[in-house]
Point group: C2
Chain length 145, copies 2
Amino acid sequence: MDADEAVETIQREMTAFARRARASAGRMHPELSLVSYTLLGHLEERDGCRATDLAAHYALDKSTVSRQVAALERARLVERRVDPDDHRVQVLHLTEAGRRILAQVTDSRRAAFRERLADWPEEDLRRFAGYLARYNAWATPGEEG
Amino acid sequence: MDADEAVETIQREMTAFARRARASAGRMHPELSLVSYTLLGHLEERDGCRATDLAAHYALDKSTVSRQVAALERARLVERRVDPDDHRVQVLHLTEAGRRILAQVTDSRRAAFRERLADWPEEDLRRFAGYLARYNAWATPGEEG
DNA sequence: TCACTCAAGTTGTACTATACAACCAGTGGC
DNA sequence: GCCACTGGTTGTATAGTACAACTTGAGTGA
């Protein structure tokens, strides 16, 4: 396999993966779509943020985020706190239930990945992880690939 | 980075990639969605096949494929030929226009990937390609990750 | 101060991708 | 010839998304 073939393969396999990931994530965790999971994860990581920040970070329309957040709030997984300094702003926070579900889905996803990667030598795992991180890091904030 | 951390990273990065891929593919090629692109590519590779084969191969419902194919036919990118040996079957083939569009999108995607991977050493490209193929190959037909 | 502009978010509308179920139409065994 | 099976279409419903119009609050300049 030369470099061009390798690029072809990377393109094809990344595409194949992307095509399937969303649906399979939904099947694995009916209670939390891939998007919801991502948003909840962001909230956990940042310990709360604004809807606008989510929209910017994930290149989603603010209306999309608004509806996602509304659904998450209905499900009692996030709560909104109006920013006292700027009444336009709602700072989003995970609820206890949100934190719990997030942890649970994360565990289950981790287990699935672990199973899938069970027979990989550690050296390969490390390299694969490094390649993926490097690949994804290419996108400059706000635009994606 | 130990093996567990590597699995974590793989999970996180694959998830991040999946979340973004569809939208960005759509932005790059408004004329051909990721699914349409994939189906057209399969048709080219196999030199024609049945809708049922596409559904099985990509873990899509037959109704989904049926509608996708209908759209591609309306756009004159594929044509159906009734199998003379089994009149239930329609063998799908790329049209000239389909072949042209597919080549064009493939080129443009390849260019994007190439740019993104431009400064990678060939050895890394080969390994990354191999890892991805191996990762995706894990899924047994019908179920995914 | 008041009007204007900008930012955050919501809502109306539309579209795509998808699944599931019900169906129709050939095929093939018996 | 009947029946089960297979390939495919259509009806219906849902999720996720974008864009445009709107509401409300904040800041700014004359």
